[in-house]
């Protein structure tokens, strides 16, 4: 677009008056310097791989959430004022409810397109956080978080956490029986904090639960504070992606110094624009097909009512799991009760998230690697990291199962107590198991890569040799695949050096260094990676005796 403006100046000289569009572009360029900006950036290259588009899915769902959210604010009243329902939904007629609930009913049943927009907003929120999580795991497993992208990893992580809380505050706004139960639970969690819990609770709710303030406060947080911070982080996130340039998979001609792919303009932009509409289409289809959060079925919140099956949206499900499987311990001290059954989950909740967020920094510390990385790792080539990521996912999943323990019980005819105990044990056992298994699988895959490079691909063609032996014909890999399979580097584990120095005096090695060496050995030592074939090995095998 802006290219046009530049060419326009020459063209004008030759052909007289340029078309209006060109003159407008020219006018804008003269004042905003768009051309310079565009020239520098539009030839930016963006590599093609489906997993690089997960970030885009998050981005577009975020845009959809903002757009539909604005529509909802036009009709929603964030007020706890009590009113009597007189709308068209018969089973609630004459029932007292807050204005927040009533206006949500109004949006659902009377505002044109209101219910569809509400459902798009909510489905988009679920997909948004899901896409973020998968995007994060893609970044994790490929090692895209390594230098220089650590800051962007943190930005992304903050977006995930904020996304969860934006979702939670939004879910609470209609003041229905389901979300009210969730808010009540959150209130309980805050109250369980020693010493300051009560003050915090009073501060947040402006009085005894539920009070008159929480909906209007949550509203401000939900539509202004959190989305504002998120928008800022998001812009920062994208600027950094742009500035660092996107990572790419290893391959011939792809180095740490270049990016192979499509130019941002016009190819990538066209694709991205199209992709936006596809994402929008999928979410709109979900919203048109399936109900989400049918508040009319839950009814308005009343502190004396509760429904079974009260769960938060899925992204808060792991916290629900923590609280559901935690034994109800409590300690009584000098007339004060410490609700460990609630307080411990409250502490573990952020820890679950932080565990995955700090990995890049731990890895960087252990490896001491200070180089820039723009080529992605294949997950199998980093078995410990991949094992850790898989273990984290399994941990997260087992907690999600715990959060829905009642529904698994009724739907699979199990005892809820048995499920709870399974989750309790699984909380500790399953991540460990997953780690070991994943690491083994990675090593197995590395071995197979090694075989492929050295002996070629199995063709499935069986040949009989003159003396009667049967062999399978192996075909050497094409050069580019060979490259891809051997492009990764295999770091040496950190060595502490000899115990004694040249004078025979014991060297002092501090505990931190020792720990680092130990971790380094577990990541790169024997048994943590399969040595990739060297050129010499390859030459030796391919020169003489051919196939094995």
């Amino acid at each position: 677009m802006s290219t046009a403006s530049h060419e326009a100046t020459d063209a004008t000289a030759r052909r007289g008056k340029a078309p209006a569009g060109e003159r407008l572009a020219d006018w804008a360029d003269g004042r905003l310097g768009i051309y310079g900006l565009a020239k520098a950036n539009m030839r930016k290259i963006f590599p093609d791989h489906w997993s690089f588009m997960l970030g885009e899915v998050s981005l577009y769902s975020f845009v959809i959430i903002i757009l539909t959210g604005v529509y909802l604010t036009l009709f929603f009243h964030p007020s706890m004022q009590e009113v009597v329902y007189n709308g068209p939904y018969v089973p609630l007629q004459g029932i007292r409810m807050s204005e927040a609930f009533e206006s949500t009913m109004h949006i659902s049943f009377e505002v044109r397109g209101g219910l569809l927009i509400r459902q798009i907003h909510h489905w988009a929120a679920l997909v948004f956080v899901a896409a973020m999580l998968v995007h994060m795991m893609r970044v994790f497993f490929t090692g895209a978080f390594r230098k220089p992208r650590e800051v962007n990893w943190v930005f992304g992580f903050l977006l995930l956490v904020l996304g969860m809380f934006t979702g939670f505050t939004g879910y609470s706004l209609p003041d229905d029986l389901l979300s009210g139960t969730g808010v009540r639970f959150m209130e309980g969690a805050i109250l369980s904090v020693p010493i300051v819990g009560t003050y915090l609770q009073m501060f947040l709710f402006g009085g005894e639960f539920p009070g008159h303030d929480f909906v209007s406060r949550f509203y401000t947080i939900h539509i202004l504070l959190l989305p504002g911070i998120m928008a800022a982080l998001l812009v920062g996130h994208l600027i950094l992606v742009f500035y660092h340039k996107h990572t790419q998979w290893a391959g011939p001609g792809r180095t740490n110094k270049n990016v192979v792919g499509m130019p941002l303009l016009p190819v990538y932009m066209a694709k991205a624009g199209g992709f936006f509409f596809l994402v929008f289409g999928v979410i709109a289809a979900c919203a048109a097909i399936a109900t989400i959060n049918p508040i009319w079925a839950f009814g308005p919140y009343r502190p004396d009512q509760v429904s079974t099956g009260a769960q938060p949206d899925w992204y808060m499900g792991f916290s629900e799991g923590l609280i559901r499987v935690m034994p109800g311990w409590e300690i009584n001290l000098w007339g004060h009760t410490l609700q460990l059954g609630v307080f411990i989950p409250l502490i573990i909740f952020p820890l679950v998230l932080v565990t995955i967020a700090v990995w890049p920094f731990i890895e960087a510390w252990v490896t001491g690697d200070d180089r820039e990385h723009h080529i992605l790792d294949r997950p199998r080539n980093r078995p410990v990291r991949t094992g850790f990521g898989a273990a984290w996912i399994s941990w997260y999943l087992i907690l999600l199962v715990g959060g829905g323990n009642d529904l698994w019980a009724t739907h699979f005819h199990l005892s809820i107590n048995a499920i709870t105990w399974t989750v309790r044990i699984g909380f500790f056992a399953i991540p460990a198991l997953t780690f070991v298994i994943t690491k083994r699988i990675c090593l197995g895959l590395q071995r197979r890569d090694r075989d492929k490079v050295l002996h070629g691909r199995e063709t499935g063609i069986i040949k009989r040799l003159p003396h009667g032996e049967f062999i399978e014909v192996h075909e050497p890999l094409p050069q580019d695949q060979m490259h891809t399979l051997t492009a990764h580097d295999q770091p040496e584990p950190l060595e502490l050096g000899p115990d004694v120095d040249e004078n025979g005096v014991r060297r002092k090695v501090d505990r931190k260094t020792k720990l680092r060496a130990k971790l380094s050995r577990s990541m790169y030592g024997e048994g943590a990676q399969i040595p990739k074939p060297t050129a010499a090995e390859h030459a030796e095998i391919t020169s003489g005796h051919g196939h094995h």
């Binding site: 089973p91 979900c286 109900t291 009512q305 079974t308 009642d406």
Partner: protein, 268 residues
Amino acid sequence: MKKLSARRRHPLAALVVLLFALAATGGLYAAFAPAEKAQADSAQSLATEEGKKLYSVGCASCHGTSGQGTHNGPSLVGVGAAAVDFQVGTGRMPAQQPGAQVPRKKAIYDQAQIDQLAAYIASLGPGPAIPTKQQYSPDGADIANGGQLFRTNCAQCHNSTGKGGALSEGKFAPTLDGVDPKHLYEAMLTGPQNMPNFPDSTMPQKEKKDIIGYLAQVDSSKSSSPGGLELGGLGPVSEGLFAWIFGLGAMITVAIWVAAHTAKARKS
């Protein structure tokens, strides 16, 4: 008359008079008593009679030969006809394999037999009677009030639109979708197994009717779902599954498709 007056003092005279008197009243009664009542009574005793037979074949092994209860089943004295009509009408009784809870299944007795069983159990001791159609029909119910009552009294176990929920140790509150209004009423009246009962003293008849009206509106084949598929009406868990499988699943499919259809020039 001398003879007669002479025998007046005979020791057996009183007895003879009594017999005459009895015969006379009996005859008079037979002549004047309402014919239907007698028939009903005999029908009642016939039903009780039949019920007892059915009972000793199908139920006595667990509930004892005269309903006094055994190791395998509780006493049925005083549970009333309503409990029997509910338990047998929803197929729960006769119970089969032991489990956390006796589940609903296809009823194996027809309504006439159920009535006979109910009559027999009712004859063992007073208890709640089978409600009349007028009591349990949803016609004329205050639906909104029913919803309020349902959320206050039932939703904690049955979910806010009666989709059911889990209780401890494999026990569960079943879905109320498609439960006959009569059985709804009887369940409230008798409180089967782990469900509390709601006798008329705590929940008047009108309120039971309102609840039935509410459920007919929101949890029956004729209730509508304004937002599209209900996904089981189970809330965020099924929504989350749907979002991951169909929402994100579709996204990834689309992403793979888009990435595969790149501009051809640089495809390596």
